[in-house]
């Protein structure tokens, strides 16, 4: 039997693509190498009773259009929002705690105890960043035009975006063009004086990249992250009930309801093609499954160099794919806790712990953390982004206990085997040591821990060099240049082979946008 489409990878984007194709009446088969769906956005029971978001935690970026079009809420998807966006613990008791709320008024109140000036700037900042973000919002669900071919039909949808851009008015248009290539540091410096506030706001700027906040173009990620934020100025603080894996389960339910098939623990070994036309896939056990088209949810390097093979692609194409910057820098420590740790100098109650707990006292702290990574070492004083999802969703842990996930930057990808061996343990110790300064009883609360570094992202989750965005999201790797110039339309040099993962426009994060865009593009053609 021949499928209309085989999707390699049951990450959320693969499932979104599969759902749209299935909904359009295509016979689809999703093949996922792991036992669980979701890829970098999965929920896994690492220890009995403890369910962790092993990769992504925050679901604020996921597109409402997709939720509506696929009726995901009917398939069991529901969100929980925290009133608090972020809290930054502090070692010294010399100043009030810094908390960003989704309620602008509350944030301004908190800030006025830190800096009157910043408290006053903050609402204007939110307005500004929203204007910038609106422009991004406009292009996320559009296929980038192929500037090499200049087909008018490709460009027409962008006329609307162009018009919208024009309607921003001269001043905002200028501002948009001015801030895009800026560093987060420079951008935030123009707005605020408090190092703590800048450190917290800037902590998202280096999401998924091996760059410091002083690097040009890092301001972009502030806007991208803000797509999921409400009024916090930071990122979203919206989690999925039952864990982020529920998103993939809901998507899988849509696929199955439309007659699609999903096989887990089924790694694809090779993409099969004849005369430059993809005809199916070969599994690790040698079985060949044929299909009219093949869609890869794996990142571009894995797709082209492992599943297709460089020798079957042109040297010019290979050179561009090799040049994709995708060195990972994110590690994650998942902790099963017997009790909630207590943070020093923190307000009473638990509300402030429901969003992100961020350790990034200043942008300089972050830039210095990057200094280590620049030379291949993990940060002596790392950025920690901590969540305790069980606070708002007790179903994730046994009663009275908690799951805590700590995303650490930077723990750069190491390629030498000898370096990999103890890397995870060193990273684990570094995270716990750092956090224990802020939460002295942390160690007593830990029942179990799981550490995931770039090595594990690559080996177990299939993300080349541990790049959680399937390629850094610098300005040179966005839009029609994602994954590489000339191939921004989800197609590949192999006919009937498409990409649908985070390595394509608009990029990484749990947006579902690459999957939806790819499916729309494919349906337009066939």
């Amino acid at each position: 039997m021949t499928y209309d489409a085989i999707i390699i990878g049951g990450g959320h984007n693969g499932l979104v693509a599969a759902a749209y194709l299935a909904k359009a009446g295509r016979k689809v088969l999703v093949l996922e190498q792991r036992a669980v769906l979701g890829g970098a956005a999965a929920t896994e029971e690492v220890l009995p009773g403890f369910r962790f978001n092993t990769g992504a935690h925050d679901a604020g970026l996921f597109r409402q259009e997709i939720i509506d079009e696929l009726a995901l809420e009917k398939h069991g998807l529901s969100f929980i929002s925290s009133p608090v966006a972020a809290f930054t613990p502090r070692l010294q008791a010399d100043a009030p705690p810094l908390i960003l709320w989704n309620d602008l008024k509350k944030t301004a109140e908190t800030l006025s105890a830190i800096s009157e000036k910043d408290a006053e700037s903050f609402p204007r900042y939110i307005e500004h960043i929203r204007t910038m973000t609106a422009m991004l919002d406009e292009i996320i669900l559009r296929t980038p035009p192929n500037l090499f071919e200049n087909r008018f039909a490709d460009l027409t949808p962008w006329l609307k975006s162009g018009l919208k851009f024009k309607r921003m008015g001269k001043q905002d248009m200028m501002a948009f063009l001015r801030v895009l290539p800026m560093s987060a540091w420079q951008f935030l410096d123009e707005w605020f004086e408090s190092e703590r506030l800048k450190g917290l706001l800037g902590s998202t700027s280096i999401f998924g990249s091996l760059q410091g906040p002083m690097a040009a173009g890092t301001a972009f990620m502030l806007f991208y992250q803000h797509l999921g934020a409400q009024n916090s100025g930071l990122a979203s603080s919206r989690q999925i009930k039952g864990g982020i894996g529920q998103l993939s389960d809901a998507l899988a339910a849509v696929v199955r309801a439309q007659g699609g098939e999903i096989h887990t623990e089924t790694p694809v070994q090779k993409i099969v093609f004849e005369n430059g036309v993809a005809t199916g896939v070969q599994l690790q056990d040698g079985e060949i499954i044929s299909s009219k088209i093949v869609i890869s949810n794996a990142d571009p390097k894995r797709t082209f160099f492992e599943l297709v093979g460089a020798r079957h692609l042109g040297p010019e194409f290979n050179r561009k794919v090799r040049a994709i910057k995708m060195k990972g820098s994110t590690a994650k420590l998942n902790l099963a806790l017997s009790a909630l740790p207590e943070f020093v100098n923190a307000p009473s109650g638990q509300e402030h712990l429901q969003g992100h707990i961020v350790i990034c006292p200043s942008l300089e702290y972050l830039e210095r953390a990057y200094d280590d990574a620049k030379y291949g070492r993990f940060s002596e004083q790392p950025l920690l982004d901590i969540t305790i999802p069980s606070l708002l969703d007790p179903s994730l842990a046994p009663e009275g206990k908690h799951v805590m996930s700590i995303t650490m930057r930077y723990a750069p990808f190491v390629s030498k085997k000898a370096d990999c061996e103890h890397y995870g343990n060193h990273v684990r110790n570094k995270i716990i040591d750092t956090l224990a300064d802020y939460a002295p009883n942390l160690r007593d609360c830990i029942e179990h821990s799981q550490v995931l570094t770039a090595t594990e992202w690559q080996r177990e989750y299939g993300m080349t060099e541990g790049s959680i965005l399937h390629g850094q999201m610098g300005l040179d790797q966005l839009l029609f240049m994602r994954p590489i110039p000339g191939f921004g339309q989800y197609h590949t040099p192999i006919e009937n082979l498409y990409l649908c993962g985070a390595g394509t426009h608009p990029g990484g994060g749990v947006t579902g946008a690459p999957g939806r865009n790819a499916a729309k593009e494919i349906l337009k053609k066939r």
């Binding site: 430059g276 460089a310 020798r311 079957h312 042109g314 040297p315 010019e316 194409f317 290979n318």
Partner: protein, 398 residues
């Protein structure tokens, strides 16, 4: 600033003209004597010794070397025996020429490629994903071309046991000259009987001395690029950057050339395994090419008449010209001459041109622009077969 070749101590001492040119970053003598004439006639009547070290040289080796080479070139490397040499172009994915040169199979899993331009990055890109490595060996090897009817006799004196007379056209052998290991290929850029001698650059001076000594009684002369350039036009050989542009240097569409458009269609093997540019070349072959490469013979009596209008004898440069000149048919421009020369041995005014394919048939009458006393004129010319000069000894077996 160009650097000296490993033969420089010898060539510099002989270069009375002091006329040097930058050839691929090396100093290369244009003529040794004040004019090139004797050097040209040495190539055609006895032998000329030319320092061709500046050619870029690469070694591709490893278990999958053959697959890599076959991916790069348009000819079929699997049909290249050990000790065989192939002249071949290589193209980019759009079928446009990157460069041209020779491929020598040194062993089952080892090849040497010569090129006009740097190709290390390109070859490495082509080798990515294969079990093979690419090395730039340009500086490690000295290369001398010994070209002309007496070249065989001279080499035989130096390597009497090597049976060089049995070496066939486009074959290679390894031997020793006075104890120095050398490689000899029956190749060259003059269209005559000729050989190229390859040696470690550390042995270069010694090899030069041996050849000069052996050639002394045969009227052999060191020859520079001016003499070589006339010979290669007579032989109908392409020169990169002159007769075509590498796709890496072309900036606008008309500057790109496919392998077909430079007259190398015979070297494009569409029936072999996949190679870079195959798809595009296949399509071009079916569609037909826009341009063709052709030889031209300019009508001398008519040229004389054009000059006679101004009471002048024909004035053309004594050397080969690399100037681009428009060519016309019925008053419409149909291409350009890219190299031209007066051929001393054929006594003809010859040119190589890129011409609209429909006008490339042998015998087609066209016109070439000439400037006579600052006036633009058109001289009649005829599309002619290349090589213009093709002595049987070039490929003869002895």
């Amino acid at each position: 600033m160009p650097i000296p070749t490993p033969f420089h101590s010898r060539t510099a001492a002989l270069c009375k003209s002091h006329e040097w040119r930058d050839w691929a970053g090396y100093l290369a003598a244009v003529t040794y004597e004040p004019t090139h004439e004797r050097e040209y006639w040495a190539i055609r009547n006895s032998a000329g010794l030319i320092d061709v070290t500046p050619l870029f040289k690469y070694e591709i080796s490893g278990p999958e070397a053959l697959a890599v080479v076959d991916r790069i070139i348009t000819r079929d490397a699997s049909k290249c025996a050990i000790g065989q040499v192939l002249y071949t172009p290589w193209c980019n994915e759009a079928g446009k020429i990157v460069d041209d040169g020779t491929l020598t199979r040194l062993a089952e899993d080892r090849f040497r490629v010569t090129a006009a331009d740097p190709n290390l990055q390109w070859f490495e890109d082509c080798a990515f994903g294969f079990d093979a490595s690419v090395r730039d060996i340009t500086a490690e090897l000295g290369a001398l071309a010994l070209q002309g009817p007496l070249s065989l006799e001279i080499l035989r004196k130096l390597a009497p046991h090597a049976e060089i007379e049995k070496l066939k056209f486009f074959r290679q052998l390894e031997t020793k000259m006075a104890g120095i290991p050398v490689e000899i290929t029956r190749t060259g850029y003059t269209g005559d009987l000729g050989y190229e001698v390859w040696c470690a650059s550390t042995h270069a001076e010694k090899v030069w001395d041996l050849l000069m000594d052996a050639g002394h009684n045969y009227g052999m002369l060191p020859a520079g690029l001016a003499a070589l350039d006339i010979s290669r036009v007579e032989a109908g050989f392409l020169l990169a950057d002159v007769d075509y542009f590498s796709c890496r240097k072309a900036v606008i569409a008309p500057q790109f050339s496919s392998a077909y458009e430079v007259g190398l269609g015979w070297a494009v093997k569409l029936d072999k395994s996949d190679f870079v540019g195959k798809k595009a070349l296949q399509q071009e072959e079916q569609r037909g090419s826009q341009w063709a490469f052709a030889g031209l013979e300019i009508d001398w009596p008519e040229l004389e008449k054009l000059f006679a209008e101004f009471d002048l004898p024909p004035q053309i440069t004594g050397r080969a010209s690399r100037e681009g000149v428009p060519i016309y048919k019925n008053g419409k421009q149909i291409g350009k001459v890219t190299s031209s020369t007066f051929s001393p041995i054929l006594k003809k005014y010859l040119a190589l041109c890129t011409i609209e394919a429909q006008h490339a048939k042998i015998g087609t009458e066209i016109e070439m622009e000439v400037t006579v006393e600052y006036h633009r004129k058109k001289a009649p010319a005829r599309v002619a077969n290349t090589p213009f000069y093709d002595p049987p000894r070039k490929r003869a077996t002895f």
